[in-house]
């Protein structure tokens, strides 16, 4: 066992884990924060992505000891951290993913949303290519990525006050004069 001290979603944590545990095992099974997912356990899918010092890392390929002295954000932290900064509701990334239909099975999305959060913290207005590159380590099997990209661009638009981009299906329905808004 090894004692590890770090900041998790804003709170100090002191815990112990077997020396061979990954950060993902510590989070999921040690600390019961099961929002970070295990899709492959080999660093291929990105479902376990968490932020360490604001940078996305693969928790399944990092030893738990890597957390020592770090600031770590998991999906569970996004909304509380947003609220603690005076925001209302969930993080704009979470809101946009929900509003745009990007959450089908939802299993890859904690990692996807954290990669997005890290991107937007660094580049508040990335290009489509920058978004694609930043999310290319997160596999999604449900959406074909279309509504995910839509969601990221919606979150960006909201931060700048620009109108949200319109998806193809909505444009098409508008042409037919049948676009209802919720």
């Amino acid at each position: 066992m090894r004692v590890i001290r770090f900041v998790l979603n804003g709170d100090p944590v002191e815990t112990a884990a077997p020396a061979h545990w990954t950060l993902l095992e510590l989070l999921r099974y040690g600390l019961k924060l099961t929002g970070s997912k295990q899709g492959c356990d080999k660093g291929d899918c990105g479902a376990c992505t968490v932020l360490v010092g604001g940078k996305p890392i693969l928790a399944c390929l990092s030893l738990a000891a890597r957390a020592e002295g770090q600031e770590i954000t998991t999906i569970e932290g996004l909304m509380p951290l947003h609220k603690s900064r005076g925001g209302s509701g969930a993080d704009p990334v979470q809101e946009a993913f929900d509003a745009c239909g990007a959450l089908q099975c939802g299993f890859c999305q904690p990692g996807m949303m954290l990669s997005t959060r890290a991107l937007l913290n660094q580049h508040p207005q990335p290009s489509r290519e920058q978004i694609q590159a930043a999310l290319s380590g997160n596999l999604c099997r449900c959406t074909g990525y279309t509504q995910i990209l839509q969601a990221v661009e919606t979150a960006i638009a909201q931060s700048t006050g620009a109108p949200a981009p319109q998806p193809a299906w909505a444009r098409d329905r508008e042409l037919q004069g049948q676009e209802p808004q919720s």
């Binding site: 569970e76 959450l103 089908q104 099975c105 978004i131």
Partner: protein, 791 residues
């Protein structure tokens, strides 16, 4: 009484929809966005043991002996079991139960489970697996379906015929031979489809617990709670009422979680044995071997057509590589022929499909079960017919349009059919007329069409009960709880049910909550497969809500002393239409109805009408409604490297009424992505030993954000007379024609017909070389003689 008899496709109150047709959020969206949604592996129970499977290293072998003594002696190991502990055969199709939870006497593929260990943690369980000694006697392993067809000994499964055939179906409709003789043109060719797998990001997981009263609870990442419930009772020899099966949030399925699996039986058995909860989570590698994915098919097609492009007959012979077990293979074999008979009318059709066993991971249903492969072959061949006759590829598809409210050649009833509008939409959106055949060399557009079922009236196990049931419970707070056996696998079926109940009862969405896929709490639904959930569970939900609405309306009409027609439930209120000042919140309306009629609740159900051709197998593939799809794919072929890039795909899909267009678009986009992925990148391939060529998400190349084309989803709403408010399926149909449209686009780009999947750069280069050689030969011939192109 089945719901289909009671309501039409119109809005419940006769005018505009309040909830349906709008891009509402999903009922579980924020739970998933915040990490609160609980998936099976998120369940951690006190004292829980962890189980692992020992899997066969051989593709085909008899088990001579298994020695578990050393494994049992390891501290922390609580149970070790083998096939002898769970010998009862099961299988999702009752006629082909050929699986056991752990191998009995022999193994049939690399990865076949042989023994299981439950221990205090996974590390100890893995240690114990290594201590189990198994002696095998190797048998000849079949890796080539052609060999399995031709050679009977050894058999993979003992059967009466002494061969390795899993299922054979041949059916003929109309006079195929006459049409082949007399038609102006016959195009004939070989096509093949490789294996691909589902690749859901959540690996399979199950947790079992036996409580003090002996009640077994199983949480499982399944898309068929009801069938797992039945299978557990059967294999464990336990009364079904002593078993509860729950599907937690599910991390994707696509057909890959629609069989009962070893982990469900093993965890249940070990929980019984140890008195402790037991979890089993499969590794990604195990998920690849569990498979049940797309069947590889070798297909020979003949299409006869007249000069005007009208198809006269289609003749197909298909060899299906089933892998090591039956799974849904009986249905697959029928679907490979039965689902081709639209969106085009052809007067004569024949297919002869044979599924054989091989010593590879078992194939099963993957999105577009059994019909994606034949659709590929036929749509590529139809394109060739168009080419040879000099007809535009979209035009030939219009000319053969099946029509609506009609019947297919194999006796399937067609209701709504928006295929022509699908073709119009993709033609317009892609600027086909301006661009097809006119793009620079190496760039092209291709089109294809398809149809798919909205559920099937074949209920897997014969019974006269409804296919889908719904129960509603009303609270005095104004909350309506919906209980449904339907499996939300990410497609949003819980949300769809909530939209329908809210629409029917005039409620705000937040006043409807859904409890799903829990066999103790929810009425039976058969599960999330064959694109049946929206259609069937949706109809059941409307049925239940309409019964409840009747009571509420009657109570208010009596109280207000007005005719019932004047009472409208809308937006969280009950309103007197002629005196809108008179209104009460829904909760008061519910309280009035409770006072008038007793505790409020209702049930609803759906069963299919009698459908299908009057012949053996005629009901398999018979659906209450069919969806229709058209794709146009734009492609860029690098003629130097053979690399194919797909910049854009347009897909128009007729889903009846779009209950939520945003969720429909999500299904279309996901389907297009998955179709293009399996055509270009993915390959579920075994090496010469039966070992998977790359059982990881790195080697099995699922596309990333960068590899995925731009996808334009276009929705066509034909409004079906029997669907819930007119809805049909959207989750599987939009995959089919993406793949042949890609092949047809490659032809437009550089004049090569790719008939064998996947479309690798090597195949492109070989086809280009062959084309150049042919052109050179033609050039040398035409300099000496003048030739007339044959039609």
């Amino acid at each position: 009484m089945a719901a289909r008899d009671q309501h039409g496709p119109q809005a419940p109150w006769g005018d505009a929809f309040q909830v349906v047709g709008k891009p509402h959020r999903k009922v579980d969206g924020m739970a998933k966005a915040t990490g609160q949604a609980i998936y099976t592996d998120d369940i951690q129970l006190p004292g829980m043991l962890h189980a692992k499977l020992l899997r066969s290293p051989h593709a085909h072998a008899n088990i001579v002996s298994i020695d578990t003594q050393k494994a049992r002696a390891i501290p922390g190991v609580h149970a070790v079991i083998t096939g002898a502990d769970l010998p009862t055969r099961y299988g999702v199709i009752p006629w082909t139960m050929d699986e056991t939870a752990l191998a009995v006497d022999k193994v049939r593929f690399i990865g076949d489970p042989v023994a299981a260990v439950a221990a205090v943690d996974e590390d100890t369980a893995n240690l114990a697996l290594n201590a189990i000694e198994v002696e095998y006697e190797l048998l000849h392993a079949y890796l080539d379906p052609r060999e399995a067809l031709e050679r009977g000994e050894p058999t993979i499964h003992a059967n009466k015929r002494g061969n390795n055939v899993s299922k054979q179906v041949d059916l003929a409709f109309g006079d195929v031979d006459e049409a082949l003789e007399s038609a102006d043109l016959v195009v004939e060719g070989d096509y093949s489809f490789h294996g691909s797998t589902h690749g859901a990001i959540e690996p399979h997981c199950a947790v079992a617990q036996v409580d003090a009263q002996g009640l077994l609870t199983l949480w499982s990442s399944t898309q068929i709670t009801h069938y797992v419930h039945r299978a557990l009772a059967h294999v464990l020899d336990l009364p079904a009422h002593r078993i509860r099966v729950i599907q937690p949030s599910l991390g994707g399925a696509f057909g890959g979680k629609s069989d009962p699996f070893a982990l469900e039986f093993v965890t249940a058995k070990m929980a019984q044995m140890t008195g402790r909860p037991v979890k089993m989570l499969w590794t990604r590698e195990e998920v690849f071997y569990a498979h049940r994915g797309r069947h590889p098919m070798q297909m020979h097609y003949k299409t006869a057509a007249d000069k005007d492009g009208k198809v006269r007959a289609v003749d197909a012979k298909i060899l299906i590589d089933g892998g090591s077990y039956s799974s849904f293979g009986l249905v697959t074999t029928y679907y490979s022929g039965q689902l081709l008979t639209g969106p085009y009318a052809f007067p004569a059709y024949r297919f002869d499909s044979t599924r054989v066993f091989t010593n590879k991971p078992p194939c099963g249903p993957k999105r577009g079960h059994g019909s994606v492969q034949p659709r590929f072959a036929f749509e590529v061949q139809l394109d060739e017919v168009a080419e040879k006759l000099g007809i535009d590829p979209i035009e030939i598809r219009r000319r053969n349009y099946l029509g609506e409210h009609t019947q297919t050649v194999n006796g399937q009833r067609i209701t709504s059919n928006g295929f022509l509008e699908c073709l119009d939409k993709v033609e317009r959106a892609s600027a086909w007329k301006e661009r097809h055949g006119k793009l620079p060399s190496g760039r092209g557009l291709g089109v294809a069409g398809s149809m798919y079922i909205s559920g099937t009236n074949y209920p897997i196990y014969p019974n006269d009960m409804p296919q889908a049931g719904i129960q509603l419970k009303v609270d005095r707070s104004g909350l309506v709880m919906v209980f449904t056996g339907g499996n939300d696998i990410g497609q949003g079926s819980n949300s769809v049910v909530a939209y329908l109940v809210a629409e029917e009862l005039g409620l705000e969405l937040d006043a409807v909550r859904v409890i799903a896929a829990d066999t103790d709490l929810c009425p039976v639904d058969l599960g999330a497969y064959s694109s049946r959930v929206t259609f069937m569970v949706g109809n059941a939900a409307i049925d239940a809500a309409r019964k409840l609405r009747k009571l509420v309306v009657q109570a208010l009409a009596e109280k207000w002393e007005v005719p019932e027609q004047r009472v409208r439930l809308v937006g969280g209120f009950a309103v007197d239409l002629e005196d809108p000042e008179r209104h009460v919140p829904s909760r008061e309306a519910f309280q009035l109805a409770e006072a008038r009629f007793d505790t409020l609740g209702s049930t609803g159900s759906y069963n299919t009408p009698t459908l299908g051709g009057d012949y053996r197998g005629g009901t398999i593939g018979a659906s209450p409604a069919y969806s229709f799809t058209a794709h146009i794919v734009e492609v860029e072929v690098d003629e130097e490297t053979g690399r194919i890039r797909v910049p854009k795909v347009w897909c128009a899909h007729d889903c009846g009424r779009a209950l939520n267009p945003m969720l429909v678009a999500g299904q279309i986009e996901g389907s297009v992505y998955m179709g293009i992925a399996e055509a270009l990148l993915e390959n579920h391939d075994m090496n010469r030993f039966g070992l998977h060529a790359g059982p990881s998400l790195l080697d099995y190349r699922m596309p990333t954000t960068i590899d995925t084309p731009e996808i334009e989803a276009l929705i066509v709403e034909s409004v079906d007379p029997e669907g819930p408010y007119g809805a049909k399926e959207a989750g599987e149909g939009p995959l089919h024609s993406a793949i042949p449209a890609l092949s047809n686009a490659i032809f437009d780009a550089c004049g090569i017909r790719l008939r064998h999947l996947p479309f690798t750069p090597a195949k492109v280069l070989a086809a280009l070389r062959e084309k150049r050689a042919r052109e050179a030969a033609d050039a040398s011939v035409s300099t000496s003689t003048s030739s007339t192109p044959a039609v």
